[in-house]
Symmetry: none
Subunit: 402 residues, 2 copies
Amino acid sequence: MDPSLVSDLMIPGSSKIVFLIMDGLGGIQMEGKGGTELQVARTPNLDRLAEISSCGLLDPVAPGITPGSGPAHFALFGYDPVQYNIGRGILEATGIDFPLTEKDVVARMNFATVDPAGKVTDRRAGRISTETNQRVCQKIREGLKPGPGLEVIVETVKEHRGILVLRGEGLRGEIQDTDPEREGFPPLEAKALVPEAEETAGRVRNILSQVGRILADEPKANMVLLRGFAKHTRYPSMKERYGLNALAIAAYPMYRGISRLVGMTVLSKVSTLDEEFKALEDNFAEYDFFFLHVKQTDSRGEDGNFDAKVAVIEEVDGYLPRVRALNPDVLVVTGDHSTPAKLAGHSWHPLPVILHSRFCLIDTVKKFDEVSCIQGALGRIRSVELMPLAMANARRLTKFGA
Amino acid sequence: MDPSLVSDLMIPGSSKIVFLIMDGLGGIQMEGKGGTELQVARTPNLDRLAEISSCGLLDPVAPGITPGSGPAHFALFGYDPVQYNIGRGILEATGIDFPLTEKDVVARMNFATVDPAGKVTDRRAGRISTETNQRVCQKIREGLKPGPGLEVIVETVKEHRGILVLRGEGLRGEIQDTDPEREGFPPLEAKALVPEAEETAGRVRNILSQVGRILADEPKANMVLLRGFAKHTRYPSMKERYGLNALAIAAYPMYRGISRLVGMTVLSKVSTLDEEFKALEDNFAEYDFFFLHVKQTDSRGEDGNFDAKVAVIEEVDGYLPRVRALNPDVLVVTGDHSTPAKLAGHSWHPLPVILHSRFCLIDTVKKFDEVSCIQGALGRIRSVELMPLAMANARRLTKFGA
């Protein structure tokens, strides 16, 4: 559906929408565990909510597609995840709360080790410490001469990872990765992928050549590899698209960053689950859309730790009565994608969703898990279709056509 | 799906398709009633049909979108409801069986009262009677000088409502509403929304200035407000698209009008349910697609009258054996959208559908309601996908590809 359709239909209101998002929530049955993480978890509050709501399954992008965090969240916020597939560089930048501008081309920067012949011997520079990374970044800042009309910013992310930002007029992001993706080969040349990017590519090559000289005496981090070049563009905000004043409550920087990209107000000082739910309560009067992000379900799934993921789900279930006590007009509980402990990583499996409002069709689902929700009234839909449904249930969309 | 795909695959045949459409059929659970309208209604004939058919849920436009009658019906007939979102003026015109031509730009016209300073004091002119409307329309006809190459037609709809038609070569519909949407403000200027509409907009401004003078001595209806300007264009007919000779049986003019827009033959002298079903029987030999429209389900839903809507559904259920006795090759029973009594208006909720033919997959659904049909073989689909399914079950589509 063309998103402008929803924007054309939006009407003002005072209703409140809460999206409680457990990252990597979905799972699959794991041998010896008796079901999926959600099937095994004791979730009386989520089950009770499912019983009086519309349930269903979400495909984050499309059947069979395993999404990264970027597209999975864009889809939840109603932004086409294929169109808004932001570059790796942009995602890293949002992850450190770096304030991007529309003049910026960003790339993910990995420190690496090259031998005297220029071949990469370690693509992660022996996983240098974050402190070393910071020191080497400072060395680049001091030595680099970007040339006229260009500002170059290097920022540490963590260990061997950082970002490189080119800031200036008319820069283009269509530049080939320089990471050879394997050791024993020299870094690739920063080639323009379209003729219009030739000037920017030349500037990148110049920067890399300077960086090579500046870092020549470093024992480990004596080169950088660049990936995921992208020009930052401004996205339509949740306010523009839905007329919503949105608040993001997320402990992890990357999710705060994605929220900022769609114009949400972002709380900075929350780190525990308890602080997150407290922040929801404290700010409930001030906004009309709330994105509350729980990271640990994904982390424990990535660890392959089934029982620990179950425990996180049960912990979140314990907070649900506090959310319901706020009496939001629309309450959505779901995740951004599946991270089955059995796979110890993101997966393509659809994940269950609850949509509750005074006007939802109540189906027969009485338990919140992947298998029960197959029977739900929402059917199997794309994540990107969730926001229009939430808006409708909040009575924020007027009739289409006469 | 590209509609030309179906057109390319259509093959001739003598099979017959019946669409029994209960307007606003879908509902949601209402407190104290024990379910949705369909869950509560006693519908032994519909339930028996569901038991031997494929069932499912329809999204008229897309999840979350509440459709007007226009797009909802276009979708049922297999026309993309976003592409074929006809203007309010066109819909009003079809609603009084006004014969539109491809030279026409149409606007909905509301009589209003303005004060001596030109500010709107009543947007509905004190809801004048239909007789007053007719008298004032005649006064405009007699006094108005449209100018060279232009014909202007004013027609009464009902009470304060009417239509204004500009007929001529090269007219454009991209003209701003003149209705200020609130009282205490003068009517807006009829501005062109694209440069190409400037000439037409100028003609509208001239007409409005004349109408102001002609109606100056009217106590209530001394001005008109125009909304929903649209150029009428010819739509591909059901015959062109599906090779079907289609008959519309509808008591309400607007639905006859929409049917006429897609090239159906339209019966004019049916007003009661009994006459509608009788007309289906009488004309069954002559056509191969039948659209039978029941308005009262929607009207009672709009009234917020749950019990009355249930009664209409039960009444229609009583007619079903007569439809089945005709032995159509394909029988579809559904609605155009939901009008839950709880909401007393159109809504975004998907609505149940039965598709019966000798070749349908029989699922486990044994009751015709919103919750039971979730389990159906059709799943949750868009209304626009229904016609290709009906055509396939009528054996009117050949194989795609080798």
